[in-house]
Amino acid sequence: METMEAQLKKVWFEPERKSVEKATTELISAQKDNYFSDNKKSIQPEVQNTIEKFLEDYKKEKKR
């Protein structure tokens, strides 16, 4: 049975998926928007949403 680490690597680091890179870019973009906004708010929901999205990807991949 594959370890959790191996599964994660498969899902998050496959060259064509580049999940971590994609997530980082998305989060940086959100952080930038917030940084330059006059109405600053917590970035935490954005972080949470992005990670939940990739968690769903992981679950789908695991099912496959």
Binding site: M4, W12, F36
Partner: protein, 670 residues
């Protein structure tokens, strides 16, 4: 980016309105402000910084007093500063106004197209975006060791890591990293809330204890049941043996029963006799004297009178009475008269009656009437109790006789163990009852333990239901950590790549302009080490300026960089407040060559003595505008300074006042 114009109204030492135009020509891009010490040079530089960023330089004196003193005396409680600037082929105007009463300031931005000003929304965020404060700080250089970069160079690590990271635009990524760490911390707390490992282990331990206890209890129940079976079997075996005996002795049951009955009857009879005796004693006690007296009187009354009773009893009567007693062998109180007592009575015959008897006779005589009245019933009652007692005694004798017969049969049965077997059956039955009760208690306890085990197992099962949630949280943490790692790797790579560039730029400047063979080393942690080759004063100051120049040029080069993680850098005019102050003459001459190529626009604040004609000659072809910041001391005039103020090739008279306050005028030098 170039600042084209600055308009101040009642700003600090600048009373009223001051309008300054800056050198913007590509070749003549330097604007110089000459001012005396304490001549409001820093105030002017601060006006630019404050207008853009709302902050002041750290060395500004009395930073809370922004509105000009003279203006305040005229009840003007606000000041403002307006800057016109061009950025990427667009013109802008910004104004920051400070309200003394509320201590608040207001910022406005306009876009200027063909002289027409259009107000823009979100001016602050626009400025933050194109001129990040944390980067632009490095464009403000203060020669007396108070500039932003010099603070990093004078700290104990002598490290420029933070400035480099500022210029590279690490801020966004660092903020994101902090957010991710907070996210991880929250998730970890959530998992800690489950405290799963510890709780689960405790529960497993608890279940084990319960299971062990359950096993132990089950064993106890099993042992008890086995023992119960053993004694039940023993009882059955014994009963079989009894059956066999009963087959051989058909009457044995009857004998055993009868023996028991007889035993009980004999005991009962003995008790009845005891009771009857008590009744007899009671009756005799009550009627004893009556009977005695009746008999006594019946036989002796005629012979007794009061006169003679004092003497001896008539011998005949005495003899007869005692003879009667001896013959009956029993006293009227029903006590047997044994041979010894009979001998005593025999000896008493024909002897003098005792004084006691005489007194008793006297008493009987005295109670003659009473004795007479009871004489009819007393003998009958005594007779009845005696008769009952006698009958009981006879019955007892018969019972004993019968019992003796049965006893023989019973002894025979005992010899073959019948009674023992019966006892065994009786004892085992008792034990079965007792052990059965014990078994019930054990079974009840067992049920309780089973219930406890069920509850603990249910709790464990519900905990296992939580496990997927915990696992998911671990995945979330893992993913967030990977993003952090990605960011860290990216930043580390950027850090490393830029180090080489900074080092080569610094040493390139040194080789061009410094003839002392000085060099600079930068460690992986960006600790700066200067070589020992330099001499003269202002050694560290020129290095600080040199590094600032490199940082600024790096920032300008990166201003259009599109990077997925790092934010782009910025370009800003290079403002220098007294950069020559601590330098010796040799280094001052290096300075113009060092400064000029750095930025598109230079704004320099100096005292006339710092920038001599010789250095100015080197900058000459790049100077576009020159201003004198002439300080006026207001008060009682006393005398002229002996030496006039020289600036821009001209002389200006100075007057010394017994001053109470100062104001500064800005004079354009042609």
């Amino acid at each position: 980016m170039k600042i084209t114009r600055l308009k101040m109204i009642n700003w600090r030492r600048y009373y009223g309105e001051h309008d300054i135009k800056f050198a913007v020509d590509k070749k003549r891009n330097i604007t110089i402000f000459y001012g005396e010490n304490n001549g409001a040079k820093t105030s002017l530089m601060c006006a630019i910084k404050w207008t853009f960023f709302g902050t002041l330089t750290s060395d500004l004196s009395n930073p809370k007093n922004l509105v000009n003193d003279d203006a305040q005396k005229e009840n003007i409680n606000k000041c403002s500063s307006t800057i016109f600037f061009s950025h990427e082929s667009n013109d802008y105007k910004i104004t920051r106004t400070y309200y003394q009463e509320t201590k608040k300031n207001e910022f406005l931005l306009w876009r200027v197209i063909d002289g027409l000003e259009t107000s823009e929304q979100n001016g602050d965020s626009f400025i933050r975006n194109i001129f990040p404060k944390e980067i632009c700080e490095y464009f403000f250089f203060q020669g007396e060791g108070k500039s932003h970069l010099q603070k990093h160079l004078t700290n104990k690590n002598n490290s420029i890591k933070k400035p480099v990271q500022d210029i590279l635009g690490f801020q966004i990524a660092e903020k994101l990293r902090a957010s991710l760490k907070r996210y991880i911390s929250d998730i970890e707390k959530e998992n800690d809330g489950y405290n799963l490992t510890d709780k689960k282990q405790k529960l497993i331990d608890k279940i084990k204890i319960i299971t062990d206890a359950l096993e132990d209890q089950r064993k106890k129940v099993k042992d008890k049941e086995a023992y119960l079976e053993t004694i039940k079997k023993k009882k059955i075996d014994t009963e079989k043996k009894l059956d066999k005996i009963e087959d051989d002795f058909p009457d044995c049951k009857d004998i055993v029963t009868k023996i028991k009955i007889f035993k009980d009857d004999i005991e009962g009879k003995k008790k009845s006799i005891e009771l009857a005796k008590n009744d007899a004693y009671h009756v005799i006690y009550k009627y004893g004297w009556v009977i005695f007296s009746q008999e006594f009187l019946g036989k002796t009354y005629d012979h007794i009178d009061d006169q003679i009773i004092k003497g001896e009893l008539p011998g005949d009567h005495n003899v007869n009475f005692l003879n009667n007693l001896i013959d009956a062998g029993i006293c009227i109180c029903d006590r047997k008269i044994n041979s010894e007592q009979a001998d005593i009575l025999e000896k008493k015959k024909a002897t003098t009656i005792t004084q006691v008897v005489q007194l008793a006779v006297q008493d009987i005589v005295a109670k003659r009437g009473l004795i007479k009245s009871k004489s009819s019933e007393a003998p009958k009652k005594v007779k009845d109790v005696q008769s009952k007692l006698h009958k009981l005694r006879e019955e007892l004798v018969i019972l004993k006789d019968n019992y003796d017969v049965l006893k023989l049969d019973n002894e025979e049965l005992q010899n073959i163990g019948y009674s023992d077997l019966l006892k065994v059956v009786e004892n085992t039955e008792e034990e079965i009852q007792k052990e059965g009760g014990g078994l019930k208690v054990l079974k009840d306890d067992l049920e309780e333990i089973i219930e406890k085990e069920k509850v603990a197992k249910e709790e464990k099962a519900s905990m296992q239901e939580m496990t997927p949630k915990v696992t998911e949280n671990l995945l979330r943490i893992s993913f967030a950590q990977e993003v952090i790692k990605y960011i860290d790797d990216y930043l580390a790579k950027a850090n490393q790549e830029i180090k080489g560039y900074i080092l080569s730029e610094i040493n390139s400047y040194l080789s061009k302009y410094d003839k002392s063979n000085n060099s600079v080393e930068i460690s992986d942690e960006y600790t700066v080490a200067f070589s020992e080759g330099g001499s003269g004063s202002g050694h560290s100051s020129i290095y600080a300026l040199l590094i600032t120049c490199v940082m600024i040029s790096l920032s300008i080069k990166r201003k259009d960089v599109k990077d997925p993680i790092l934010r782009s850098s910025a370009e800003f005019p290079f403002l220098l407040d007294s950069p020559f102050g601590e330098l010796d003459e040799g280094k001052r001459r290096q300075l113009p060559q060092l400064l000029q190529p750095v930025a598109e626009q230079l704004i320099i604040f100096v005292s006339s003595t710092q920038l001599t004609e010789m250095e100015k000659e080197l900058l000459k072809e790049h100077i576009g505008k020159q201003y004198l910041l002439q300080m006026h001391e207001i008060g009682d005039k006393t005398e002229l300074f002996e030496t006039p103020l020289k600036a821009g090739g001209k002389s200006f008279d100075r007057t010394l006042y017994n001053q109470v306050r100062k104001t500064t005028e800005i004079i354009l030098i042609d």
